[in-house]
Symmetry: C2
Subunit: 406 residues, 2 copies
């Protein structure tokens, strides 16, 4: 990484991801030790005319002290001003930039997972409020840390691992293109045409079929297909994820049937890696969950509430995904979920459903866990209400003609 790479990644987050406007307040959430990037983001935002950049550093090792030492009855407590900050950013119509890429992946190692599970910080439920009311233009970006690089490339030396992570991150962020903004526009236009073509097809269900997978997901009557280029209520375009490679929708949580096998490792928020997942669904419920590794933890998550064993999201990713092509497991959902088509256990995305009546049927849960189930070997087929089967992805390539019309 050069200082230049750092500045270009910061500029991408500010200009393309959050699309910071002159006069905006910018809320940045960083982990302790991500200061170099946080400062570069602040500088980039001020250069674009930001009114104020509020960097909130979250320290995983202060959290560790809490999980290790605090009283049992205190672990759910969240200071009210944490949520108030988020809601204030909403009221200010601020820009929000969240930095991923843990600096201490094992911060809670060796502590009681039940205690750790009661403290969801830095996650704040108020974030869902400002996302859903579209009051902030926000983005999530990743920044390489030495510890994260070691996790991705344990076979390399520390320096080599960090250099490789930087190289791959710059690649998947299209910062190795002569004109990264043009490259993003081109890619996002393909995703936009795909979402429109899927909407136009008005599928009643989607069928995934491949090795170990034969799963049909029913859609709600007004489920729509979305890409991750959004607009605030005030009309500011932004990319919630940088990079993004997916189109996604919210299925009917009562109509998921069949079985599915994961095509990539799943990395849970606490760092647990779950490999070789197999799930059988009946009437929307995951009635059987097993895995070659980490299955117990996944079962525990899927039992956390009523909606945790149902599907909240179906996302399709084609073989042009730069993340999928690399084949790297990044142990970071932001990147890994954009490698392949996936389904999410847990909370659905209400705004992907057009009608109020359907929206009340969207799955609700405290979890949202993306399971990668796609690959070039998994065919994706749309099924209309009349029972017609329409190829959507074959060998990882979009089949709907409208996707390829410029």
């Amino acid at each position: 990484m050069s200082g230049d790479d750092l500045a270009r990644l910061a500029e991408l987050a500010v200009a393309v991801g959050a699309n910071v406007q002159p006069g905006q307040v910018v809320g940045v959430t960083a982990e302790y030790d991500q200061h170099e990037f946080a400062r570069a983001v602040a500088a980039a935002a001020y250069r674009r005319g930001a009114r104020f950049v509020d960097v909130w550093y979250f320290d995983p090792l202060v959290k560790r002290a809490r999980i290790a030492l605090a009283g049992e009855d205190t672990l759910d407590y969240v200071p009210p001003w944490y949520g108030e900050r988020v809601l204030s950013l909403g009221r200010e119509r601020a820009a929000v930039i969240s930095i991923r890429g843990s600096t201490v992946p094992g911060a809670l190692d060796g502590l009681d997972p039940a205690r750790a599970g009661r403290d969801q910080l830095p996650f704040l439920r108020e974030s869902m409020t400002v996302i859903n009311d579209r009051s902030v233009n926000w983005t999530v970006v990743a920044y390489p840390s030495p510890a994260w690089a070691r996790l991705c490339f344990p076979e390399l030396s520390e320096d080599e691992a960090l250099a490789r992570l930087w190289r791959e991150l710059l690649h998947v962020c299209r910062l190795d293109e002569p004109d990264p903004l043009a490259a993003w526009d081109e890619r996002l236009d393909v995703l936009a045409r795909t979402a429109r073509a899927l909407d136009a097809a008005r599928f009643d269900a989607v069928h995934l079929e491949g090795p170990g997978t034969d799963l049909t997901l029913g859609l709600l009557p007004s489920s729509t297909w979305q890409m991750a280029r959004w607009e605030t209520a005030g009309g500011i375009r932004h990319l919630p994820n940088v990079p993004t490679e997916e189109v996604f929708t919210t299925p009917d949580p009562e109509r998921v049937d069949g079985h599915v096998r994961s095509t990539r490792p799943l990395v849970l928020a606490d760092g647990t890696v779950v490999r070789g997942i197999e799930i059988r669904f009946e009437g929307g419920r995951a009635v059987e969950i097993r895995a070659d590794e980490g299955g117990g933890v996944l079962q525990g998550r899927a039992a956390i509430d009523e909606g945790a064993c149902r599907v909240g999201e179906l996302a399709l990713v084609d073989r042009e995904s730069r993340i999928g092509r690399l084949g790297t497991t990044f142990f970071e959902t932001l990147l890994d979920e954009n490698a392949a088509s996936h389904i999410a256990l847990g909370a659905g995305i209400a705004f992907a459903v057009a009608d109020e009546a359907d929206r009340s049927r969207v799955n609700t849960s405290a979890i949202h866990i993306d399971l990668m189930v796609g690959s070039p070997e998994v065919d994706v087929t749309g099924i209309t209400a009349a029972g017609e089967r329409v190829p959507v992805l074959r060998e990882g390539a979009w089949q709907l003609p409208a996707v390829h019309e410029a």
Copy 2:
């Protein structure tokens, strides 16, 4: 410094300074790079049963980006949630621990001082509210950083400077005593007896006389003498400063006459060092200010508002002050003001005045700058309303008999 020293300093801050109570929320304000101490403070607070420790890291280099790059009309802006956090800590009856000892003393070097002066962060005026309504048990403590150590001991190598700063800080915090808590109790009892003896004497004025100094400060009829062992409205004792060596009062801002010469360098908030200060007062106003070095900056501060050229505080420090005995200039008010008797230009301390009517006469200003004017060569004499002169400090030793009664 050993890990043990770090833990003992953290324990002193938590147990003696803030006196954290079981079930309390603890707000910690740290500078970026003070994470080791912030984490030790968090651990110590959780061990005492804290409900939650909220560490707020302030990044001076994000501030630098702002001062360098942000629009001229934005520099006064403070996000409302910064103050809301402080007021919430007050409503929660929280403990508050502020960590001093800059990690980047020259963070704003080379930038326009006029722009820098418009951004007072991390200072928040809401802090004054919760201090004045005594809703939080708070303390200010120092933590050695390599950059701060270099500033104190430029003639030493970096390692030696840091080791020396640690050694001196542990000494002035009485952590080199076999029983530091007992040593603090003993010292604080002397200061308490001194304050009571000064109150009992009911002086109308105080006279400072020594080389270059002949200054008389009138007191308000209900001025009281205070030490820095306070109680919250709810009865929690705490030490606002660790260490503390002073007793202080609020003089009559209209009755300060004579001249005074500083006995130690003054270090302003922006790092400017002012040496060899001489000030002449007439009717409470500083009518002449000069210095061997940095006089212009001090003159500028004293002209910032109407009250900035008047005296808001008179503090007496005896020769037993461990800071005074060391002779080190720490470039940090928390320590330097406890080295010697001092007067402060600017805002007075209202709660040191008992009657409502007198309180309206307390000096007000946006500044509060402590000037060290005492030494063993400066005699301090109390003057009663009847004109009787009573020795208070001679050769730096308390002269009031009640101070020495156990």
